[in-house]
Symmetry: C2
Subunit: 251 residues, 2 copies
DNA sequence: AATAAACGTTCTGTTCTATAGAACAATATA
DNA sequence: TATATTGTTCTATAGAACAGAACGTTTATT
């Protein structure tokens, strides 16, 4: 995590990539001033990245290429959970007509592996690869509830409890109570904690030995999800999908 | 393309990433011998990449993280063609029940932006980010047909005409004839050229000024696509979807 | 049309640093 | 218990990254 002997040149390349990602296509001079490097050095880095396909030049501007999507796509494709869960999450979206997601934990953050839109799905700005704090979503809470407590506190120490909406969980006590509730029910609920008016229901996906691999969820506008749905029909569907995934993973 | 003053350290980092992508999770020693570097140097690179979230350590092995998916996802999301075409390609898949795709050209290669599976869709090993030779697919031919001829020959010089199946296009003459046919019809056909028994129909997406932005397609097993479909019903649906995309892009 | 400003790119000497190799601790193997 | 193999720490030196100056081109200004 700390890198005792960091490779400074690599860090500069990464800073450049980050800047191109945040700021979009850019010329050499502007980029150089943005990350505080000389023009020639930036030029050398850019042409090197271009040579290997990570950057391309369009209309006198440099920009990141879809090589990153290729690398990311291959990594995702190689993940067993993704292979198994993908068709199930799509069915779940089709069946409910809403938005269905898979999330995994990586470096203490939640990463969306994919989303599938049913016929009436809301259009959230989630996308494959998006990172989110675990405590802010039903998906994340479903994962946290089944991680070792030591790991949970480690994650809290690292990332804190940033609030998204007034309803968000803001203290550790509150979170641990919520996680207890998740373990009791077997699924997690987010009632407007991440986004006002949005209700989510997430269920963990675990191995036979109890290790948590990720979570799946359905998100829908509160107007379409009654309190009754939230504790009856919907959890049944999500838990059933999670169960099918677990069975297929454990052979 | 050539990088007159390449940053060698960055190239080593990229070689390491490439090796981790091809070979999967790996220890320091093995990785060092794979790419012919000292153990300590590899260790420094890995911890640097880890510090910035591109690599993670699991069970005494280093592996690439989904950070790449995040970067790739953000790049894709920022592309206007993707934003506009995504819902249309999904409808196309739903409507036909088959597999629908978007492809764009990047650095002379075709890159899949997304795929959408209809109810009966075949399960090809394509995925978002996958790169393919342009002359081997209906999607690629739809793009090549509307690129300037100078650019087409440039691409051929760079990437050649590798054959995938006995039916593949193997000479420049053959390709240019095929591209003429595409321009005449307005859509491209792949009848088993990429994969035996698979038929694809691709249509270009162009701006009002005639520039090609990419192509969309439907792929289906030959058993479900009659010769009649291939020149009647199917092109109509694909062309109509392409047209909707074009209208939405040009405002 | 002439001039100036700004750009991307080339090039080199100096400064900084990436790296091999040796040594260490920790774990696995015999 | 001894031996091999791993990941990691550390440092001197070989080597490379980079600032800055200069170049040719393009764009903006007067």
């Amino acid at each position: 995590m700390d890198a005792k002997y960091p490779v400074r040149t690599t860090e500069k390349t990464l800073a450049l990539i980050e800047q191109l990602m945040e700021g979009g296509p850019c010329g050499v001079t502007e980029l150089a001033s943005d990350i505080d490097m000389g023009k020639s050095a930036v030029h050398n880095h850019l042409t090197t990245l271009q040579k290997h396909g990570y950057v391309q030049q369009i209309d006198d501007e440099y920009q990141l290429s879809l090589k990153f999507l290729e690398v990311g796509g291959r990594i995702r494709k190689s993940m067993e959970l993704y292979q198994v869960a993908e068709p199930e999450v799509k069915s779940l979206a089709a069946e409910t007509g809403e938005l269905a997601n898979i999330l995994i934990e990586e470096q203490g953050m939640g990463v969306y592996l994919m989303r599938a839109k049913g016929a009436d799905a809301v259009d959230l700005d989630t996308y494959a690869g998006l990172r989110t704090r675990l405590h802010t979503t039903a998906l994340g809470k479903a994962i946290l509830a089944y991680l070792p407590e030591s790991r949970v506190t480690e994650i809290l120490d690292q990332h804190g409890l940033q609030q998204k909406t007034p309803k968000s969980i803001s203290t550790r006590e509150e979170l641990f109570q919520a996680l207890d509730a998740v373990r009791e029910r077997g699924y997690a609920i987010d009632d407007g904690e991440r986004l006002e008016g949005l209700r989510c229901l997430g269920a963990p996906v675990r191995t036979s030995s109890g290790e948590v691999l990720g979570a799946i969820s359905v998100s829908a506008p509160a107007s379409r999800v009654s309190d009754q749905d939230l504790h009856g029909d919907l959890p049944e569907k999500v838990l059933s999908a999670a169960n099918v995934i677990e069975l297929n993973i454990n052979y």
